[in-house]
Symmetry: C2
Subunit: 316 residues, 2 copies
């Protein structure tokens, strides 16, 4: 059995070799280093590179399983994978902790007025009268109720927040006080002061949020996007922020990435931006390797993939 | 029975009158508005003003109970109160939620590099490579294990942190994985990457932290003070930060308040400062009034004070 990784995995490489002494592992720094012979003969592929497109899959004649070392699989050539019945697993869950930490960094940065107090510090102003809003009792609405929003909702509840979640059919999910179908979202927005997008990118979620969505949010709304930037067109979001349909936004993802310095978002005074970094963590490779090892052990026992199998019809 | 408040309480005034129709309430905007007659005749005092000193207490011949509308009672004239057996209650617990929110605002501001990413935003730099540290698995050490650190420790544990607490004799407290006596603190510091002071100001805690304390902390330490500024002399703290005995500090309280623009803290690049605002909340008066009402009902039933009674010998 031949396993090819299109990235170097540091000390995880030795761990894999030692865990599976009868499996051949090859690690390449980048897809461009991959020899044609390996491409043709590999059984299993570990990667997170956009170079893995339909023509790449066509050439990988023996490929049976693709382990995607990230969560969002939206760049993968679904048709080519489906046609060959190539199974896909991802690193879903690995990023839940980091994304949750960023989500609360954003919320508390806003509610505790950290930028305003830092301005005071830089101006050597001691303003003892500042009274900040509490997040206790606030209602937070998550678009999505998967692994990441579940972890975030758990923390939100301990902070004393009310948690609402939107998913395909409104099914109940642990950690959410109330859940509703995504299709009913415009009737739900007004209940929340914080709206968080954590949806994966699929055909259904691309440009899901329209001007009419932001019109229905209450004007105090803090909008946070740590899911995928394509959930809303940049110009729709810029307009909603410019016209104060919502109070403020914290964004980590964008319709067009990498964001260029010409983005209209940079001109707004009610947006805080990070550079698609909320999933970055030192431990990601280790945790994703945990998932891979768990699956490979099961495959070698002829029990098939057991963890984080992606449904290629749903796209997540 | 005559109750005097040295502050206006908004809609809580009507609430008090309606809850206790047989009690006379007087509300003054500031101690300077208080008539001599009321000072002499009041049975119960509600205040948080420093004007309540020994001579004030001497003139309040009928005073039996002082409800302090804040938590830290360190400015009160303890000897004068003890001599007359005047009981003191405070608003302890009211501020636990706000202080906890600020504590995590500080921690996440640091760990998620919010100031650095904001600089990038202002410079229109898209830096997708930034990888931030996670708070999961980090050890946080609290000086103090009272209501506020208990609430904070509860959140810390849900975030996946290990919680250590220091108190007088090291007794176990819910929410803390380990507790130790304050006297053994220099042997404990190195276990933690985050050290948080939440101690009240007493004779024992005034200038408790010396240079030797900071010397024993590990150099990655994030030091946070949301307790009282007098736990450490400003020059000791400035030196520890300047010499990088610790990595960084987030401070809300100071040896000398209000802080002047001449403080050496303003010259450091590894300190983030707020202006003793972590306890400020819109709901404080309501919550403190809850405590007062609870106690007054008990007093009128001849059952004495039942909540938040301050031990004038301990000073908290």
């Amino acid at each position: 059995m031949r396993v090819v990784s299109l990235m170097r995995l540091g000390d995880q490489e030795q761990r894999l070799q030692e865990t599976f002494p009868n499996v051949d592992f090859e690690f390449y720094k980048h897809p461009s280093y991959l020899p044609e012979s390996s491409l043709k003969e590999m059984d299993i592929l570990m990667t997170y590179h956009k170079e893995v497109d339909a023509s790449f899959i066509d050439k990988a004649k023996n490929l049976k399983w693709l382990m995607w070392f990230a969560t969002g699989v939206n760049t993968l050539p679904f048709d080519a994978l489906r046609k060959r019945n190539i199974q896909v697993t991802n690193a879903k869950g690995v990023h839940a902790q980091q994304l949750t930490e960023f989500l609360f960094a954003y919320i508390l940065d806003d509610y505790k007025e950290m930028k305003e107090t830092y301005e005071e510090q830089l101006s050597k102003i001691y303003n003892h009268k500042r009274t900040t809003a509490s997040i206790a009792g606030e209602t937070i609405l998550f678009l999505g109720t998967g692994v990441i929003p579940k972890r975030a909702a758990q923390i939100a509840q301990v902070f004393g927040m009310k948690t609402l979640g939107l998913n395909t059919n409104g099914h109940a999910v642990e950690g959410f006080d109330e859940t509703y179908p995504l299709s009913e979202r415009t009737g739900i927005y007004a209940k929340a002061n914080i709206v968080v997008n954590v949806l994966p990118e699929t055909e259904e979620t691309t440009f899901l949020l329209q001007k009419s969505d932001f019109d229905k949010m209450n004007t105090r709304t803090l909008f946070i996007n740590i899911g995928r930037g394509t959930v809303v067109k940049e110009n729709v979001l810029v307009q909603a922020l410019k016209e104060k349909n919502i109070r403020k936004a914290y964004l980590d993802v964008y319709e067009n990435e990498p964001l260029t310095d010409e983005s209209g978002l940079y001109e707004l005074d009610n947006v805080v931006m990070t550079s698609h970094i909320t999933g970055n963590a030192q431990y990601n490779k280790t945790k994703a390797t945990d998932i891979f090892i768990n699956n490979l052990q099961s495959v070698l026992n002829n029990e098939g993939l057991i963890e984080n199998v992606v449904d290629l019809n749903k796209g997540y």
